[in-house]
Symmetry: C2
Subunit: 203 residues, 2 copies
């Protein structure tokens, strides 16, 4: 009787969206609500920022180490973004699914497009800025990047907003309403758990 309803079967939730839209903050807020997920840690070659911790925010790898894992086909997807590599390790996802745990992961839009091909049954959520102006503002206020880097990111964001078709859901993230954004993601998870035709992700 329970088949096809609210049975626990692991979902893969992919959170994506333009740089600066608030992917990290949204996932942090979801974590705080206590909803159980296996939070996938992305591997990267980019420099660690202040307050970031290796193994929690990212796995910070050397370029050499990253390429070694690429050659060993240990990545589900990887991409070069702004001169740095970012990748999702296969075993981070497959081990969690084998344990029956829901998986949540954060990738850039290019990464989401790759994952869509490899895991079409994952749930793809695009975080939208309220407007392009708002996104520019956020990136400028972040102060972590040079002016040229900010411009590059804004140009890219405008391109990425054209890639919405890859995604199942779009959630507008107002920075002052992170709670609402996290609740929308949680509602999507609840709804997906009720689907009659389950999404079964195979890696």
């Amino acid at each position: 009787m329970e088949k096809g309803s609210q049975v626990d079967r692991p979902l893969v939730i992919v959170i994506s969206g333009p740089s600066g839209v608030g992917k990290d903050a949204t996932i942090a807020r979801i974590k705080e609500t206590g909803i159980k997920f296996h939070y996938v840690v992305t591997a990267t070659t980019r420099a660690r920022r202040p307050r970031e911790t290796d193994g929690i925010d990212y796995y910070f790898l050397t370029h050499e180490n990253f390429i070694e894992k690429v050659n060993k086909e240990e990545f589900l997807e990887y991409a070069e973004v702004y001169g740095n590599y970012y990748g999702v390790l296969k075993k981070e996802v497959s081990q969690a699914l084998q344990k029956g745990e829901d998986v949540i992961l954060k990738v850039d839009v290019q990464g989401a497009a790759t994952l869509k091909k490899k895991m079409p049954e994952a749930v793809f959520i695009f975080l939208l800025p309220p407007s392009v102006e708002d996104l520019s503002e956020r990136l400028r206020n972040r102060n972590a990047d040079t002016q040229t880097a900010v411009r590059l990111r804004i140009d890219k964001a405008e391109q990425e907003l054209k890639c919405l078709a890859v995604f199942d859901y779009g959630v507008v993230n107002h920075t002052d309403a992170l709670e609402k954004t996290a609740n929308a993601v949680k509602a999507i998870v609840t709804a997906e758990k009720c689907r009659i035709k389950p999404r079964i992700v195979e890696i």
Copy 2:
């Protein structure tokens, strides 16, 4: 920018499931939470039960009056169930959609199958009993029906559970956790509002 995201566009939510599963109680609970819907009132020829109000619980029509509306093609769907007619009036749905209001309606499983053909873009939710035994218990405790009527309903329920494929979502309704059921329906509505490819119902 807002296109394809959390823009308000009217949804049609179809709540169905076996007789006795708790469709009315679930919808009543959703109403209490203050979520805005146009709640479609079903027309029926069946006798009014104590505590039911014409125009609120149902439109109680005479057999003659009902058939007249059938002939005038005023129903989106109608069906005979246990010797009585039940139907959803087209204008109840179309007028609400024109005003941009989300619509929620309750139909039996046969009705849902008909609506699926006429409104494939509606959101179909099947309320599931925790088990067939549980459903039998509920129907027996209702005391509104004769023993034969109860048996007929249980047989029918077992058939209906095979019709899950028509539906998008299945929500298990535990009578002691109506809040959870209502929240699942609300989550489904929130998620559907975030769909990149909107469901546009046309009547």
